[in-house]
């Protein structure tokens, strides 16, 4: 049975159910509704504009309006920030390789604290998102600035700050070494050293094995390794046959 949307049908539906035995007893409202059946369909229908109708509501609706087919699809959200973000990471792919904190509760608790008057923030490290937010700030506060100029400006600020950051880490290391710091091996280097130990053993063993192999293969001819043996002397060049043919 189709889904019944019309209140008018309720009597018919109930009668059918009684007849077929689906309902064993008459519902309490049956007799009342039989006496005073509903006259109106109470479901509100959306207004469908018709081209020839004189309905005043038509004036407000653009003529030739068609209900789009994908009206039930979730619309794609388009933000200018996303475009800037895409452009930035496309041009700076290695920025994606930097570690990022993914722990957040609402998603905006850090951004809410930030003031994009400056690009550097107390609550978040410098990254591509800083460029995006700073660009948006510049556009909002400078009506004359085009989006490209704003992006370029904040990109340059980003480079400047990144350069300082890199310099700082480099100089700090040098300074502490000059003051006597000894920088411990990191995990990667520790593993490399461990691996090297085993590789060294393997090389020594391999060298021994190679010597044994060479010695046993040369046993029959009784010639020391490296000396020219008979095969080598008799070796002919690839072209020697051709040369002989001519003779």
């Amino acid at each position: 049975m189709k889904i019944q949307t019309q209140a008018v049908n309720i009597l018919e539906t109930a009668s059918n159910a009684l007849k077929s035995g689906l309902l064993k007893e008459k519902p309490v409202w049956y007799d009342i509704i039989l006496k005073y059946p509903p006259k109106h369909n109470l479901i509100k229908k959306p207004h469908q504009p018709k081209t020839n109708s004189s309905d005043p509501r038509n004036d407000e609706i653009v003529k030739n309006f068609k209900i789009p087919k994908d009206i039930h699809k979730i619309p794609k959200l388009k933000f200018i920030e996303d475009t800037i973000r895409d452009t930035f990471y496309k041009h700076h792919p290695w920025e994606l390789a930097r570690p990022k904190n993914l722990i957040e509760i609402n998603g905006d608790e850090i951004l809410k604290k930030c003031n994009w008057k400056n690009m550097l923030q107390l609550y978040k490290p410098l990254d591509g998102e800083s460029v995006v937010q700073r660009t948006m700030y510049l556009i909002k506060n400078n009506k004359n600035l085009s989006i490209f100029d704003a992006y370029d400006l904040s990109r340059m600020e980003f480079y400047k700050l990144r350069m300082f950051e890199e310099m700082q880490s480099h100089i700090s290391k040098e300074e502490s070494i000059m003051n006597g710091a000894i920088i411990e091996l990191n995990y990667l280097k520790q593993q490399m050293e461990k691996e090297n130990e085993y590789l060294k053993q393997w090389i020594i063993q391999g060298m021994k094995q190679t010597k044994i192999l060479e010695a046993s293969s040369n046993k029959s001819s009784q010639v020391p390794v490296g000396s020219i043996i008979e095969n080598d002397i008799n070796q002919t060049s690839l072209f020697e046959d051709l040369v002989n043919l001519d003779k």
């Binding site: 690009m119 550097l120 923030q121 400047k160 100089i171 040098e174 090297n196 060294k200």
Partner: protein, 306 residues
């Protein structure tokens, strides 16, 4: 290294602070060093500290026997002589600090275009500005800067960034770097003339002196002392760190042409804790390029680098 910069010479076994005319004027009138230091700061930095350093140096000199009385020594010679002798550490410290102080202050001129102002905590997050003045006018020098650093903007950025990144006491030097290592020149070229092809920026920390001969191999010497000597293994590859040290300090001849003292004593009084960037920007505006040009060695444009 300090061959061409004879600034302070020894007379009657004592050194005195060289007379700087503009600074004497400032002391007499009580004015500020326009655009960089207040009167109080320049008094502390130059007169008090300088006199303290030179009197301490003279005291120590009278006690040591490394110097012959009949010979005249320059400050640079004393620095080089005392460099590798631990007993003369104090002497070396005062001599090099005095040299560094003079080298820095000498290359500054007043520039009333910039303000001396205390910065508050907001300066911590500010992005450094791009606009600047006081660009050297000498065409050849500019060309050399462009060759070595790319452009004057990049040069300034690198200079200010490396100065700002020093946490404690320290000095940023702009040096002319010879193309070949001194070790190589000693062996292969008897006449031993270093040729200068490149400008570079070098940091020294805690009143260190600029001498690549001292730096090259310094860390490995230290590490060897700490580590028990083991037989060299042919199969072992060197670490990245070792390679870095070997490449970074080649024992090349370095001639300093400009230095900026970035120790906190220089900016704390006038610019506050957060004012290091502002201080460095002001220093740039106050650099006397004429002095820098005088210190510059002859440039060799050759292609061999090592």
């Amino acid at each position: 290294m300090f061959k061409n910069t004879k600034i302070l010479s020894r007379r009657l076994s004592t050194f005195s602070l060289p007379v700087n005319k503009s600074l004497e004027g400032i002391k007499a009138t009580g004015e500020n060093f326009q655009g960089l230091f207040s009167n109080k700061t320049i008094n502390q930095l130059w007169f008090e500290r300088g006199e303290n350093l030179s009197s301490n140096l003279n005291n120590l000199l009278s006690q040591t026997s490394i110097l012959k009385n009949d010979k005249e020594y320059s400050l640079q010679t004393i620095i080089s002589l005392s460099m590798n002798t631990p007993e003369l550490y104090q002497l070396h410290k005062y001599a090099s600090n005095l040299f560094n102080l003079n080298f820095f202050i000498e290359s500054l001129k007043q520039n009333d275009a910039n303000k001396i102002e205390k910065k508050n905590v907001d300066a911590l997050l500010e992005t450094p500005k791009n606009s600047f003045g006081n660009i050297p006018t000498d065409h050849d020098f500019l060309d050399w800067i462009n060759y070595s650093f790319g452009s004057i903007e990049e040069f300034r950025n690198l200079l200010i960034n490396s100065g700002r990144a020093i946490n404690g006491d320290g000095i940023v030097w702009v040096v002319a770097e010879s193309s070949m290592s001194e070790n190589y020149l000693d062996k292969n070229l008897p006449q031993k003339v270093p040729r200068f092809t490149n400008l570079a920026i070098v940091n020294t920390y805690n009143g260190g002196v600029l001498n690549d001969a001292e730096r090259s191999g310094q860390i490995s010497r230290m590490k060897k002392l700490l580590k028990e000597e083991t037989e060299e293994d042919e199969l072992e590859l060197g670490s990245v760190e070792e390679a870095e040290y070997n490449v970074a300090y080649h024992n090349k001849s370095l001639i300093p042409i400009l230095s900026i003292d970035v120790s906190p004593r220089n900016y704390l009084l006038d610019y506050g804790v957060f004012g290091k960037q502002k201080y460095l920007e002001n220093v740039w505006e106050c650099i006397d390029w004429d002095v820098v040009l005088r210190r510059l060695p002859e440039r060799t444009t050759q292609l061999i680098t090592m």
